[in-house]
Symmetry: C2
Subunit: 240 residues, 2 copies
């Protein structure tokens, strides 16, 4: 479990951060990261965390950018209640948990949760390699700390599936640089939809995001980008 | 799910009652019962329950006696973190959930939770037909509302096991009258351990508690008690 972190993006209530810390401690996860907490009131956090999880609050890392927070991770699993038509397929917690535990043998895994009011936007979801959705009755909006508890509980009780150990994957820092490179290449080859500028990037993110890319794969894709960009540039210079 | 109720015994914080109501609504349970809440602050409850679960708080039944609260139920499942040596075997939530869902087809099932600080005492546990324990890492003390969420979540996602439908069972009102009758009989036949007055009652409660007694079974046991008591009484009268 030492490779698994809970990441709360823009949490609103310090009580929820504290309750999430306690849930983490209950379920054997000791790394908590928050991005832009609305009210960083440590006293309120500690009250809900209880004495036993106080060190999780004290060692908690705070970031101002989600991308920076996620940079060292090799796999990001986002939690979402939304199931709009454009959304990617989501996994049930009990299906996702064994795979995440397997990945975490060799990789850093982030469990990403959105804010109480808005959840994760498309702009946050683009970092996610997989999505988890907690099944509910009609009322789908689960309290933030409750969502953290359910996901951590499922991961705690999951057994690693038998089978090959997942190799070390590229981290978000590396894959984001790759996506920036791909974006540059898309512009160069005219893969740009003015009415929907993210159309092609979303398509490629969804595809590559679930491919468990290793650092070598990232280098391969970036090599391809470089060659395409150079070719286009040379041809453009030649034509002028 | 209409036959399943969450029962909170002596909850301390109104926020936890509200959060429990929201969890119930998330997972399709609409009946919440509280016994002797320490601070019945409806405003704080409603804030945590959110608008969607406000009706659960408004329709919540409040009792001053746990036995009265449990009287109409046919099966009581208690949640406990303790695993002392005298304790009965406990079930994991995912093992208990399908059986409780099966029972609930024909019976009223209470999911009983103790207070934040003390959990369920032996005196509360005696009403329980089965016990559930949520597995944790080293720190076993789970926030009350989080415990409610995990149990409700497991019940929501459980499938009813294939097999015969459980028949209608005796309710707690009927079984408590039976235990009172048995207690009277135990005294009459000298089954009384002065050093440990509850010794025999605890033994018989643990045995009969897990037997899924029907009303006819209760009548049979009470008929036996009545005959023993009458026989003893007649012999005593005869001897004096």
């Amino acid at each position: 479990m030492k490779n698994i972190s809970v990441v709360l993006n823009e949490p609103r209530f310090p009580e929820n951060i504290g309750a999430a810390a306690r849930s983490c401690r209950n379920m054997g996860i000791s790394s908590l990261i928050v991005v832009n907490p609305e009210l960083p009131d440590t006293e309120k956090m500690l009250k809900m965390a209880t004495h036993e999880a106080a060190d999780i609050i004290k060692n908690m890392k705070v970031y101002t950018s989600l991308e920076d927070a996620l940079a060292p991770f090799n796999h990001v699993a986002g939690t979402t209640a939304r199931t709009g038509r454009d959304r990617r397929p989501t996994h049930a917690p009990w299906d996702a948990a064994p795979e995440l535990k397997c990945l975490a043998q060799n990789n850093r895994v982030a469990l990403l949760f959105g804010s109480e009011s808005k959840g994760l936007s498309n702009d946050h979801l683009k970092y996610c390699n997989s999505l988890i959705s907690i099944p509910t009755a009609d009322f789908a909006s689960i309290n933030l700390a409750q969502s953290v508890m359910i996901i951590c509980y499922e991961i705690f009780k999951a057994h690693e599936p038998p089978g090959p150990v997942e190799p070390k994957l590229a981290n978000i820092h590396e894959t984001e640089a790759m996506y920036a490179h791909l974006s540059e290449m898309f512009m160069a080859i005219g893969l740009y939809n003015e009415a929907n500028p993210d159309y092609w990037m979303n398509k490629i993110r969804r595809f590559l995001g679930r491919c468990n890319l290793k650092a070598a794969d990232v280098r391969l894709v970036r090599g391809l980008c470089r060659h395409v960009l150079n070719t286009v540039k040379n041809l453009q210079n030649h034509n002028t």
